[in-house]
């Protein structure tokens, strides 16, 4: 078992390293002197440029520059945002909480509706419920989230002013953004859950369980759903990353404070150190979550344990 965990952990570390190299390259891929790129539109006098060049080690080989950068990142130093006149770390920590709240709220909605709809559709395969819910699923996957957000604003700001539309702090302000963010993933989850359940239902042991006369409900919960959990778990892992990335659009539509909007503003304002930090953070989170899901696999399904 230890070997299994170590192998996976090694894979994760390798992946995180590769991600960090790619993200490090962002600033180097932009044409021009990296120091000037970072200073961006805010310009900067020759003294600042020289200091920054020295800080980044631009007179040294790229490998040294990378080591210098990653050393900073690992100790929480993502650099200084010259556009915002504060450290990138403080920018991120000031914006991260609303994004976490939004992501968790959307994840709950996604799982609640996606799993429920998917399971019912699979159990009642071929019924009108199945047809309608799969139609809903494909439509919800196709709705542009930036447009859905605006439609919800029209409906709930103009027609039915129930929710705080723009940036309310409490639960009321969270509802519309969370629904918007959850919509695409809900449709996807419903479809995925449905096909996983259908797949699990086709197993021979399910037929045997039915033949033995085990009540339908027990067959569903003990024999079908338990087997359908694993593929769904994987998808959920990927969805957390997708939801965090989706906040980029949703936070912009609802003018909500958060990491996603910070990223868009940083891209538009050419504040590349902030861009770099956020991209790195989200990609790392995505990989770590998938790793955790991987580790949960053998716990939930002894058959998957290969140690």
């Amino acid at each position: 078992m230890i070997i299994y965990v170590m192998k996976r952990l090694g894979g994760l570390v390798a992946l995180l390293f590769a991600i960090s190299v790619l993200v490090f390259m962002i600033i180097r891929l932009i044409p021009g002197d990296p120091a000037l790129v970072i200073l961006g539109t805010s310009g900067g006098d020759p003294a600042t440029v020289a200091r920054l060049r020295q800080q980044m080690g631009l007179d040294q080989p790229v490998v040294m520059q990378y080591l210098r950068w990653i050393g900073g990142v690992l100790t929480g130093d993502f650099g200084y945002s010259y556009g915002q006149q504060r450290s990138v770390l403080s920018l991120i920590s000031a914006n991260i909480v609303p994004t976490i709240q939004l992501t968790i709220a959307a994840l709950i909605l996604t799982l609640l509706f996606g799993v429920t709809i998917g399971v019912i559709a699979a159990v009642r395969r071929g019924t009108p419920f199945d047809t309608i819910s799969m139609g809903f699923a494909i439509t919800s996957m196709s709705i542009p989230s930036f447009w859905l957000g605006l439609v919800l604003i029209i409906v709930f700001a103009v027609l039915l002013p129930v929710f705080d539309v723009l940036g309310g702090p409490g639960i009321k302000g969270l509802v519309l953004p969370a629904v918007t963010l959850a919509m695409v993933e809900t449709g996807f989850t419903a479809r995925f859950v449905r096909s996983s359940v259908v797949e699990a239902e086709r197993q021979k042991h399910v037929t045997v369980a039915r033949a033995k006369g085990i009540p339908t409900r027990d067959v569903l919960f003990r024999h079908i759903l338990r087997n359908a959990t694993l593929p769904v778990l994987t998808v959920v892992g990927l969805q957390v990353g997708s939801l965090v990335a989706g906040t980029v659009i949703v936070e912009t539509v609802f003018s909500r404070q958060g990491i996603g909007r910070l990223l868009v503003d940083a891209i538009l304002g050419k504040d590349y150190l902030t861009v770099q930090a956020i991209v790195l953070l989200i990609a790392a989170l995505y990989s770590v979550i998938n790793f955790v899901v991987d580790m949960l696999y053998p716990v939930l399904d002894p058959r998957a344990a290969r140690w």
Partner: protein, 307 residues
Amino acid sequence: MNFDNTKRAEETALLGGPIEPLHVLPPSVPLHVRLRRALKHHSLLAGVLIITIIIALVAAAPLLTSIQPGEQNPGETFLSPSAAHLFGTDAFGRDIFSRVLHGGRYTIVASLMVVLLGGIVGTALGIIAGYFGGVVGFVIMRFIDLLLAFPGILLALAAAAILGPGLTNGIISVSIVLVPVYARVVEGATVEARHLPYIEAATTVGVGAWSIIWHHVLPNIRSGIIVLTTSWLGIAALWIAALGFLGLGVQPPTAEWGSIINDGSIYITVAWWVAFFPGIFLMLFVVASNFIGDGLRDVLDPTLTSK
């Protein structure tokens, strides 16, 4: 070194879209049989119908409206939809009907370019990795794993941050997201196809690698690529429009569905129609693309017919 936690991406998802394994389809199923099955597939037909109508409307834009998409009319700002202005007018008195039809040209052509560019590069990488394997294949696939470690929209945004705003850069950015998707699916299918008896026979007889790839491997994976392309066309349109919405795609005053929605978002509570209509067109385009993708999968993939 193996990035295990991205391996299962094959059976799961990126933001918005499934990456499913391609089944090697026997080219032996005659065309008329496939056609007959296609004609019985209602959602496939609906998808084809919707997309044909949208493309016809967009292509015939100059015939359907005599108003130029950029034509400003200070006396006619914020008119609600009427016979003269079917979809109303915006803050500059520009006709939204004309902007939506003309703007669709950018969105649709851009998303076609995305699946073409991303599809060709991804397919080429997938075939090389799958057919030749070895060190080259290993390096390619690890790079693909690395790209898949970023949520799709995040990768597109990072690319857009490096390249800067604009339609061409938007197309390249979104294409980069599609490359790993195609590469992974095609690689799997190519490995599967390479072990088909007649292809192994051709290798043994001494047929050249490129000839085998062109005459035997490609025809085997073609249907799968078509399915993948139709499904991802809609997602490409969503992401192109998302970049437009965020101000990273087409630049004003050029109309594109995403950028019109961005215009409309500013005064959404005053003039809902500006953002509403382009969103409807975009959503229908994506729904139709998903319908066609799903439908073609049913029709072309014989392994799914029993479900």
